[in-house]
Structure formats: structure tokens, C-alpha cells
Symmetry: C2
Subunit: 211 residues, 2 copies
Amino acid sequence: MKIAILLYEDMTALDAIGPYEVLSRLPDAEVKFVAERAGLVKTDTGFLRLSAEYSLSEVPEADVLLVPGGPGDAAVRRNEEILGWVRGIHEGTRFTTSVCTGSLILGAAGLLRGLRATSHWTQLEVLRGFGAEPTGERVVVQGKIVTAAGVSSGIDMGLRLLQTIVGDDFAQAIQLGIEYDPEPPFDCGSPRKAKDHVVQMVRAAMDGAYA
Amino acid sequence: MKIAILLYEDMTALDAIGPYEVLSRLPDAEVKFVAERAGLVKTDTGFLRLSAEYSLSEVPEADVLLVPGGPGDAAVRRNEEILGWVRGIHEGTRFTTSVCTGSLILGAAGLLRGLRATSHWTQLEVLRGFGAEPTGERVVVQGKIVTAAGVSSGIDMGLRLLQTIVGDDFAQAIQLGIEYDPEPPFDCGSPRKAKDHVVQMVRAAMDGAYA
């Protein structure tokens, strides 16, 4: 199972690393971290750099494509070289996936027209501009296109993919292996559950980051 | 808030990136990824390299120390240079923390004697060798030493730390910002909840990785 994970400047690390940690445990996984040019990629906080071992042209195909999100998505949506690569890989994938605002990149590549899709909750309406119908679900499966909501949702998406690819027992073993028995300190991880003033705090911060 | 995250060969990426993604969003966060020698660090799958921007001697102090786990913990537990650094940093921390088998490294550094602590569920008994009392809890707070269970638990630990450091509102905003409203596909993330044969699958895999 060939898994290609796109990296780009100012992406959010957990968007990629959550599903990577799950999918890389497939017995036949071969994971390639890919960027426009191979080398170190600075993530959105400025504190962490991930190593892209491959440039786009070195990875012409994959069974699973994963596109993470982050404030850098805006530049990627204007980058025809990366968008063309996404379209090309998508032709041969078994699953084309995104986490957070990675779905806006799939949208800019023209892959979401007429489909239901999700994204970070603050950016859902942007999906309409790409002909997609935004939903507030955490993981949205539309044929082979699978979009996940904000940042941490990629772990849930990865496990859902594993369930489809190798079945319940193996997916459960991976979930147990990463001890994914969440105990969030608050029940506020969705705008439907959080207090109004907390929702406004996040909207203000995101408006700054995604301006 | 100075946050030092230890990186080492054959660590598990999500152990570090989960809490990093939470703690780095503190308004005054200054996160340093530190390894024995600065440079690229290969994680346990062999597919991903993280960039350690600093070597040990360049980071003599921190407010929060985070030690991730992974199969590489065994070599670190025999590495007096790293253990000495952990002890030194710990003297001045506000919180000394670990995820997964990172607690075995804290144990080897002599920091867990007489304390309750947790680790990956397959490795809990190893803690006794360091004079610690293993518990099956997801996050264990003992004064300024905070240990978390396997891999994904670092996200919960990071949010708990934020709650202590900056209070409920800000911690809730971060939880909502990373849309941490988990929907695991199965209720099997703890050995108490998983089916017996799934528990055995993971034990066998971990015995191989941690042999």
C-alpha cells in the first residue's frame, strides 16, 4: 500500500502525523512524504520542520494520497504545479484524502465538485466556492474521496480507512496499539458543543491565521 | 513558556507531535526540538524524519520538558548523556512530562522513584524496575511530573497542562481550534475494552518491536 503525504510550508503538523501514525502501521505500508521540492518543510508554528524525502516528480502515483491543512493551504491553492500533481495522483488512487483545510486544496484541484465534504469548522463555507457541499461531519466519505474535519480528526479518518482496507480486527489492533481511548478534558471540540465566547476566540484567531 | 521536546532515533512521532500541536499554541510558547546531536531524526516506522534544531548542550533549561516514547527508548535508557540532560532540565522545569514509553526514560533518569506513573499499556510493569507504581490511567499527575499512556494520549495530556497553565477558557479554545471532538470508530482503545484476540495481536507486535 503506497501512501503519499503532501508537505508544504505553513502546514499543520498533526494533520499529517495523526493519519500517518495510523496508516504507516499497515503491514505493507510504504509511506512517502512529498513536497514541491525535497528537503525540510517548516510547519505553521515555525518551531518544527518535517523532512520531505521526495519531490513531486519522484512520486507519480500512490494508493492513498493524504493532503493536510494549515494556513499555508492558501499558497498551495494558487500553485499549479502542486495542484497538477494532486490531480495526477488522484487518477490512480484507491483513496484521495484530506485533513482540515487540506480539503480546500482538493477543491482547488477541482476534485470536490458536486460532492459533500468537510474541513476545519471555521472554513467550511469556503468549500462552496469549489462546488462542494460542506457538512459538519467529522469524516465524510464520497466514493474514494475522504475529507476529515479540523486537525485532530485525521486520526479518526485514518482508522476508518484502515477498517475499510484491512477490516475490523486489524483496525482495532492499531487503535489499541496507539491507545486511542480519548479523554479530552472538555466536551468542547466542536462548535456545536463549545461555549459561545470560546467559539469567538477561535474564530478571531483563525481569521488572523487564514487572512 | 519554554518547551523542550526530546527527539531520538526510533521514537514514535505522534507521541511528540500530539502534545506539541497543543502546547505550541500557548501565546508565549517557544518550542525547541532537541536531540543528542542537532539534525534529522528517523522515527520508528523508518518513513519519517523530524528535524532536531538543537543539540542537548544548546538547551540547558525549559519550563516544560516532553519526552516521547517509541522502540528507541531502550537505547536512550542506556545513554548517560541524554539521561543526564533530562535530570538537569528537570531541576528547573515547571512540568516534566512523558508520553508512552517516554516514562521509562524518566524512570531510567531516576525521576519516578516512589511515584505513580503510566506508560504504554504493554510496558506498564517495566515501570516497577524504576521504583514507580504503574497505573492504568491515561494521564497521571504527580507534582510536576506528568506521565501519559500510549501514543495518542499526549493530546489529552497537553490539553490538561494547558488547563493548569492558562485556565479553562484558553484550553477549551485550543481544543476547539484543533477540533478535538474524537469519534474513534471502535471502543477498543484500552486493553480493558478491546477483544481478547485484539489485545493478543498488539502484545505480539509490541513484544517484537520492544524485544
